[in-house]
């Protein structure tokens, strides 16, 4: 149970193609009674160690009491199903304290062949 920074939703696609960029949003609600510094982090679990991280261009914010906010992050989809681990931290006593964790699975999408713009560009005697 989160003390301050409660992760209540991870927005992410249900599936993604290998090599494609996956954009996610981690929604966090502050349970603090005063302004709180809250940070987000994330890692990807799919069989490699250490778990690769998730990029959050803006990974912290000051939350008003009881307010919610989301952090946007992204990563490159590996060639297998992946589990997103999202973490939250709050700032107190001069350091960040781990507070909450949520997970979400993303399936590997099968690529569908798509052809387009087929045209003859030249023809000549050789």
């Amino acid at each position: 149970m989160a003390q301050v920074a409660e992760i209540f939703l991870i927005e992410a696609p249900a599936e993604a193609a290998a090599g494609s960029r996956v954009d996610i949003r981690v929604h966090i609600k502050s349970n603090a009674s005063t302004w709180a510094g809250i940070r987000v982090g994330g890692a990807l679990e799919y069989g490699v160690s250490p778990w690769p991280g998730i990029t959050f261009p803006n990974n912290w914010a000051n939350f008003p009491p009881g307010e919610s906010y989301y952090f946007e992050g992204y990563f490159t989809m590996p060639d297998k199903k992946v589990t997103i681990h999202a973490y939250s931290y709050y700032y107190a006593d001069g350091r960040w304290h781990f507070d909450d964790e949520k997970t979400r699975d993303i399936k590997l999408a099968e690529l569908v062949p798509i052809l387009s713009e087929f045209k003859i560009t030249d023809y000549r005697k050789v």
């Binding site: 090599g19 062949p113 052809l115 087929f118 045209k119 023809y123």
Partner: protein, 184 residues
């Protein structure tokens, strides 16, 4: 459903939209508002090849080789296929489709896996043989094969009308004239 029966006097490149039936074979065809023609088979409409005037005419002789270059975009899993290049004619009777005279395949090639559309460039070479009559124009088109059905603009090209002219192999003299005469 308004049905139009085959009429040989129709302009083959400017049909009005609607259903058509070849009364000789019973085969159904459909022409849409944009003039694209489809072949009806077992509940499905399959696009027929579209026609465009060729941007140039290439003169060839028997024994020559014609190379057709194509480009297309592909995204998806790795796919192995061949390119089929065809020389033929606009069929002069309904359904005015591509009447293949000769064709050739490229060697098999594998299009690499890609999540984003990537432009691919491929070629196919066709030997000019005597099945093509000397002194005649022919049209060309190309398409991908091996599990890839034809869909003009996606898996195959439009047909380029009168893109090739087969020059006679016999010695040909033309434009003979006296250019001058004088005392020497």
């Amino acid at each position: 459903m308004a049905v139009k029966t085959m009429e040989v006097t129709l302009n083959p490149l400017a049909l009005s939209s609607g259903w058509y039936q070849d009364t000789a074979t019973g085969q159904w065809y459909y022409c849409d508002e944009e003039g694209k023609r489809y072949i009806y088979v077992a509940g499905y409409l399959y696009p027929a090849v579209a026609w465009e005037p060729a941007p140039k005419v290439v003169n060839v002789r028997h024994g020559d080789t014609l190379r057709i270059d194509v480009s297309f975009k592909y995204s998806g899993p790795a796919k192995t296929c061949k390119l089929r290049g065809v020389i033929g004619n606009l069929r002069t009777v309904w359904p005015y489709d591509f009447d293949e005279v000769i064709y050739a395949h490229s060697p098999s090639f594998t299009i690499p896996e890609s999540t984003d559309p990537v432009i691919q460039n491929r070629s196919v070479s066709i030997s000019i043989i005597t099945a093509l009559a000397a002194g005649k124009h022919y049209s060309i088109y190309a398409k991908l094969e091996n599990g890839i059905g034809f869909k003009e603009g996606e898996t195959g090209s439009v047909a380029l009308r009168d893109a090739v002219f087969v020059v006679s192999a016999e010695p040909t003299f033309t434009e003979f004239k006296i250019t001058d005469y004088k005392k020497v």
